[in-house]
Subunit: 551 residues, 2 copies
């Protein structure tokens, strides 16, 4: 079965029913992963009919509000499923998330929202609609990095810009430190964003409040008599920059050895203010807007933080602050009278970082950040769209973070701007938002850890590829309904699934061969920033030397 | 500080406020565990005031309905917290419990309801209002047993009978096989109940559907040439008997070697019918009623069970059937017009039996049946009382299964019938039912595994006594808010709690010395049953010989 035959069949159906819209034609031109073609063959007719209904419904909404819907994607770090938005767990964990609880009660609670296992990959997947491994963004890099999201990737900001959306990015991008990867160079009209994750400003420095948790980063902490390379530590890293489409960037709050945690704390508030300000500015504009607000959340340093929860970890405070911040965003939508024309997705980017000191613990699933087990990739996620989403919807379907790309494009009438020369893993899941549980067009998900295909989920079953040995030895199979914590591998009971899973992998591998992964893009960091510090120039040198060595 | 000074102070307060009711005086005569005296000293005045309000409120309800409230206590086996009654988990586990979900949404969801770690002890604690270790009922016995709940224990049925309640017990008692332990000899007007747990009829037999899982119980499965004692296996066990207060019992459906699983399956339906019939008969009686309906739930044998859930374990089917059965009970209350004058508590008796084949898995906490970890003792529990309980209440307070004893007594105006010559661990928790979250009068719980004091919970903290070694080595402390799954012992961080926990244990041990535990009551089984089978008489012989050997 080829993509072509499917296309022809479904187009024929659409045409005979007189319902083939531009969006539907665009959808059929998109190259999805092999598994989706199987589903398309089974369900294509049904979906085409439903798409016609959806188009009608969206057109009515557009007529009512005078423009396409605004889209806000809020995504934060490292949170265990259950940690937020489920009232029973607030009692179990000893802190409160009333805003996200309300979001769940008045919108959608996802129970199988899958992400990549760590922040850089999940963010790349959301931006590109593709498994992170396809864009080379499969790892979480730390300074000195010298790599990032390739310019050739087409982001959701580019797709929505083409369709006339105003676009903005605030807070944590973590998409690398090379110029082509900057958010304002990747389609966003305006952006203020961080190049790396939170660890540098929270943990690395010696003075100010960060000093409480430092572990060797600062020069004093070394026996200098044993030959000490003063350029080895990445002192000149740049935490946060801002820029506008087509313009140069500038560093915002410098992360010198002094006062980094204080600056990081300021950044959390600044990003929040920027997000609110963007909403205020664009609320009554002719153009709809897309806001990617991916706030920094955690601040694991207790110093200077008032501890007010029974849970009494800094992380609990962080979650309560996040919840309040999201509350401010939702209130602003109400205040501006645009809540009913705005889809808000709020979700974590991956599971808890259980290695972080005294901070993050699993609630339901096993595993955490970096792990292919459910705890790493099955995240807290909620959607709000008053008047469109049925209140209190709990979705048991599989949904993937890269589906947001295609779904947002559909809502924006922008599907024809999705590139058709590469695999787009993201499926259009508008039906889930409009019709709720049982409407997902996906029953599979491939989990990569770094560049390695670690596991595949199909329906309620999961097969772990990583660690499997050739022959019939130690290959883990799980029934996730029975054993959501993946505690008892059931290869023997599930040998019926051996062959079917092999087929899924074979199809996936064949597609990957046809459309090879883009290698990780390397480059000199921090070009295109107007106010570079001397340490940052030194850092550039380190990366440049490494690149030359490799030649 | 002695019990007496507290009593005097509080009585003085009550008298000066002119609010000392019979119930309040009775409460003050009850001997609680040492920890409660500490709380009484801190909060006694506040509680006395609240008790006056509560008495008024209950008197108004009695006036409205013309009698005291009916009380139904539904308690079933071995269920992981989250397994039932929380919609998000229905999606995670792949089966539905709409009735219990509704109960949680319209009543109380408990998040810290603690039980004993296994069925016999939990049931003894609920019946007597005391830690099971105090009545010698600390273990789960299997045939041949020859022991049971001592006659001297005062059960909730006796207390409520004194206050004019009609009382009935149906389904799984598991309180032993000696005559004094039979439910109709322990205060219930009428009873049909099982003496042991589900394993004998489900697993042991060779024929019929039980044959699928047998493992050596039947005579054929033995090499007879190596001297085979034909009396060693407890062939004559009696699964289920019925009786009325003051009368002899009779065996209902015999569990011969043939057809036991079929009979067990019939029993599940019979007990349900009996419970419904009791409600119908007593609904419009002058007397209020107390119904202990502790249904058999599980049936781990797939044979003859239609599998209709995605979860596809027999256990999921069992849970769905339980949920339907509870739904029938609640519907009957509506039909009879007595829902608003009936408190229903629905709860599991302990955590999942993770050893059972392909059946039970943890959802949130670690550990299961038999374990002092949260997974063993922190159970799914819900309360319904329309018009009294605030809908959607989620209770984060500690509540213990033995608190139901004292709470039921208070609702029935029967506190003066609670014995005052022994420790009653059960605290009157009426305030939680009437006023919701944050109203518990308990912030501690002692966990026993068998006769061993395994762990103590105080507030959100837990100290594990079992396995601790003298000196400062390997003593487990947990902060349950941070680490609900008890995965990372935090002795070092919690050394501040070393001394305070020691004090709690010392006080508890001192009280135990003053009021010693009743030894396990032994006796000849099956006396007082009119229709004994020859195998059961043989079984009696085995026990009698053992008792004589011990002399």
């Amino acid at each position: 079965m080829t993509k072509h035959t499917l296309t022809t069949a479904t187009v024929a159906l659409g045409m005979s029913a007189g319902i083939l819209t531009t969006g539907m034609a665009a959808e059929l031109a998109i190259i999805h992963d092999a598994e989706q073609n199987i589903l398309q063959e089974e369900f294509g007719e049904q979906w085409a009919k439903q798409d016609a209904e959806i188009s009608k419904k969206l057109a009515e909404l557009e007529k009512k509000h005078g423009k396409k819907p605004n889209i806000i994607h809020i995504m934060w770090d490292d949170t265990s499923f259950g940690e937020v938005g489920i009232p029973v767990f607030n009692k179990i964990r000893g802190f409160d998330t009333p805003v996200l609880n309300k979001m769940g009660q008045e919108g959608i609670t996802f129970t199988r929202m899958y992400t990549e296992p760590s922040c850089t990959p999940t963010r790349a997947a959301a931006l590109t609609g593709r498994l992170a491994v396809r864009s080379g963004m499969y790892t979480v890099a730390f300074p000195p990095e010298g790599s990032g999201l390739p310019a050739e990737e087409v982001t959701i900001a580019e797709v929505l810009s083409e369709a006339g959306y105003s676009t903005a990015f605030f807070a944590k991008a973590h998409q690398g430190d090379i110029e082509e990867a900057y958010m304002h160079n990747q389609g966003f009209d305006e952006a203020q964003f961080s190049l790396y994750n939170q660890f540098p400003p929270i943990f690395w420095h010696r003075t100010g409040e960060a000093g409480a948790m430092t572990n060797g980063y600062t020069p004093e902490m070394t026996e200098k008599k044993y030959l000490v390379d003063s350029t080895w530590r990445p002192y000149g890293y740049i935490m946060d920059i801002e820029g506008k489409k087509g313009e140069q960037a500038r560093e915002t709050l410098p992360t010198t050895l002094e006062g980094t945690l204080e600056n990081y704390r300021k950044l959390i508030e600044i990003h929040q203010e920027k997000a609110l300000d963007f909403i205020k500015r664009k609320a009554n504009d002719d153009k709809p807007f897309y806001l990617a607000y991916w706030p920094h959340v955690y601040d694991l340093n207790t110093q200077g933080q008032e501890i007010t929860t029974s849970n009494s970890t800094p992380f609990a405070q962080n979650m309560e602050r996040l919840d309040r911040h999201i509350g401010e965003i939702l209130e602003e939508l109400e205040k501006q009278g645009i809540a009913e024309n705005t889809l808000v997705i709020a979700m974590a980017d991956n599971g808890p970082m259980t290695e972080a000191p005294g901070a993050m613990y699993p609630n339901v699933f096993n595993g955490g950040k970096g792990d292919y087990r459910e705890g790493g990739v099955r995240v807290a996620a909620f959607a709000q769209w008053p008047g469109v989403i049925e209140p209190g919807t709990i979705v048991g379907d599989i949904f993937a973070v890269h589906d947001l790309f295609t779904t947002f494009a559909n809502l924006a009438g922008a599907k024809e701007h999705i590139p058709t020369d590469r695999i787009i893993d993201g499926i259009d899941q508008t039906a889930v938002l409009l019709y709720g549980d049982g409407q997902s067009r996906r029953d599979y998900y491939h989990i990569y850890t770094g560049p390695i295909h670690a596991a595949t989920i199909k329906q309620q079953f999961k097969r772990v590829w990583l660690g499997g040995r050739p022959g019939l030895v130690k290959n883990d199979f799980y029934n996730l309904y029975q054993d959501p914590r993946e505690e008892r591998g059931m290869m023997a009971q599930m040998l019926w699934a051996w062959g079917p899973f092999d087929m899924v992998k074979k199809r996936h591998d064949q597609m990957n061969e046809k459309y090879p992964f883009t290698p990780t893009r390397h480059g000199v960091p921090f070009t295109g920033i107007t106010n570079l510090r001397p340490e940052s120039i030194q850092y550039q040198e380190t990366v440049r030397k490494t690149m030359e060595t490799g030649k």
